[in-house]
Subunit: 331 residues, 2 copies
């Protein structure tokens, strides 16, 4: 079957993002190598513009629109990183931007997008159909919808992070990436398997929201019955997105899961040893490595920290409770 | 007068550190540019090995010793970053390492050095003469003393951070650096004034420990009467170190001071906007920029975050109290 994106699409995205997106740092520390019994190189996408890899895809999609469509504007739904990414992309490209967020989302999230000139539309999480609202507004106002994962341009943009990492570190034998909608994993897998056919790609989901793992086991996309309750709020999907799924169902070598306490432990670990800030959803790949969820013995592993969008008081609460509850036995 | 180090010394140090020290990331975010009314590029030395720029100087000094001296061992005094740096340098160079720390220093600091094989010697801060103890042990055991600042090799090593920054960002017109013992400021000033004669070098001290500022005003080195009480414990010196002072008294364009609450605010700011962890001493240059302590109007400023050696519970306490006490008026 033909995949929805090709390695060439990711190279095109890299050219479009050159000088626009940050070539984020690659971090390594001896303590992490010792803990993982492997050489570990962290791709710090938490240091991307707007604090997550999402900027790569949102910008690439928006920049690829015809000028008249861009002039009419872009719209997307997100209470988190994708919304910030859309707002900055729209601001940079002079595209009027609308971000649809739940009415009960933290005010700070909306303010970040508003400060970049985005218009905020809220909806009631219990009663409103978010996707219908987005499509309705898009049709009514002539806006282009930019999904958070389910778009070839968004996936290709996300894949540029792995392209940077593997270009600088061709010695990587395993790549570990968070799975939410699946766009990052899909873009990563397409470029990584092209550059290094023998590389192993491992996706990581929170154990409470393992819709991709369940789908892989079923052999087709399945939906979790309940909205996942996990500290990794950016990964709380009930169903894999359709286009990323086409890639991930073919190219992922494995999907592993991590518990909330392993995620918050990884956040504290990143703080202490990498001196960087990971949000829960951004820390799951590191959590899987620290919890020995992968057999990395002697390998060189690339680990994506995909985002750092966590407020200080929330970070305090999460990492303090990780301290109170003790750390995983291996630590 | 002849300066104790030359630009060539710093280039020599850069060669010695190539592939050993991390070429730390250069970070920039739109929010910081807006806050500073300038283009700001942060040199993230908190992401250096052992969490601070100190590794550059400690390693370079140790690596420059004759092989027989290195084989006998190295010694230095520090309850903080310099001790960690010595321990890693000694471990990498197979030099037996002794770190002299106060008996009341946090246990975690000693453990970090011990885990790298360093021997820890403690002393009583109230009764013992630290420097006499170090020299005594060095003579008795044939060890080479590696000071935290007062060494040409240590200063030259520290200067390599600015060399990296200005090589990648020659557009920088002002460089802002923390001043503790003065080694980082001295190494920075020598290479920066060489590469860009018109560049402005601004040192930053905590207002409670402004020994370099007092010395500059007096026209000679002066000692503060009391050991400074400041949250920036790595900068609590009473007197500028002799060799760095020879450089700093000639090459620094300005020294400004920041209050403790401005330092802790900057730590929270780095967390939120740069997604990185700065210890109090490491955050003073950023604090000076955020508190508008420099006239940066329209300039391009390089700002050193010099270290990230702060434990999570301490970080929680410091940044929470910054929240409780409100943020500086400009924020």
């Amino acid at each position: 079957m033909t995949l929805p994106i090709t390695p060439a699409d990711i190279r095109t995205a890299a050219r479009a993002l050159d000088g626009i997106a940050v070539r984020t740092p690659h971090l390594s520390v001896a303590a992490l190598d010792a803990a993982a019994d492997a050489t570990v190189i962290v791709k710090a996408e938490n240091m991307q513009r707007t604090g997550s890899f999402k900027f790569r895809g949102a910008y690439h999609h928006a920049a690829s629109l015809p000028a008249d469509a861009r002039g009419r504007g872009i719209i997307g739904a997100s209470s988190g990183n994708h919304g910030q990414a859309l707002a900055l992309a729209g601001w940079l490209l002079h595209a009027p931007t609308t971000v649809v967020i739940p009415s009960d989302a933290p005010r700070a999230k909306a303010e970040g997008a508003m400060s970049l000139g985005a218009q905020i539309v809220t909806y009631d999480r219990r009663h409103d159909d978010r996707d219908a609202l987005v499509v309705g507004l898009a049709n009514e106002r002539g806006l282009s919808v930019i999904p958070s994962a389910n778009s070839p341009h968004v996936m290709a943009g996300a894949g540029t992070a792995a392209l940077e990492l593997l270009t600088e570190h061709p010695e990587i034998t395993t790549l570990v990436v968070p799975i939410g909608g699946g766009g990052l994993a899909a873009g990563t897998a397409v470029i990584a398997k092209h550059l290094r056919p023998g590389i192993r790609i491992v996706g990581v989901e929170p154990s409470a929201g393992a819709d991709t793992l369940a789908s892989l086991r079923a052999g087709h996309r399945v939906s979790l019955e309940e909205v996942p309750r996990t500290v990794a709020d950016g990964l709380g999907h009930t169903t894999p997105s359709a286009l990323p799924w086409q890639v991930n169902s073919l190219l992922l070598d494995d999907v592993v899961t991590v518990a909330d306490r392993e995620i918050t432990f990884a956040m504290g670990y990143a703080f202490q040893h990498l001196k960087c800030v990971a949000e829960p959803s951004g820390a799951v790949a590191l959590a899987a490595v620290l919890a020995n969820r992968l057999d990395l013995d002697g390998q060189t592993a690339g680990v994506m920290i995909s985002g750092g969008g966590v407020d200080l008081p929330v970070f305090h609460d999460l990492t303090s409770s990780a301290h109170r509850n003790g750390t995983p036995a291996h630590a």
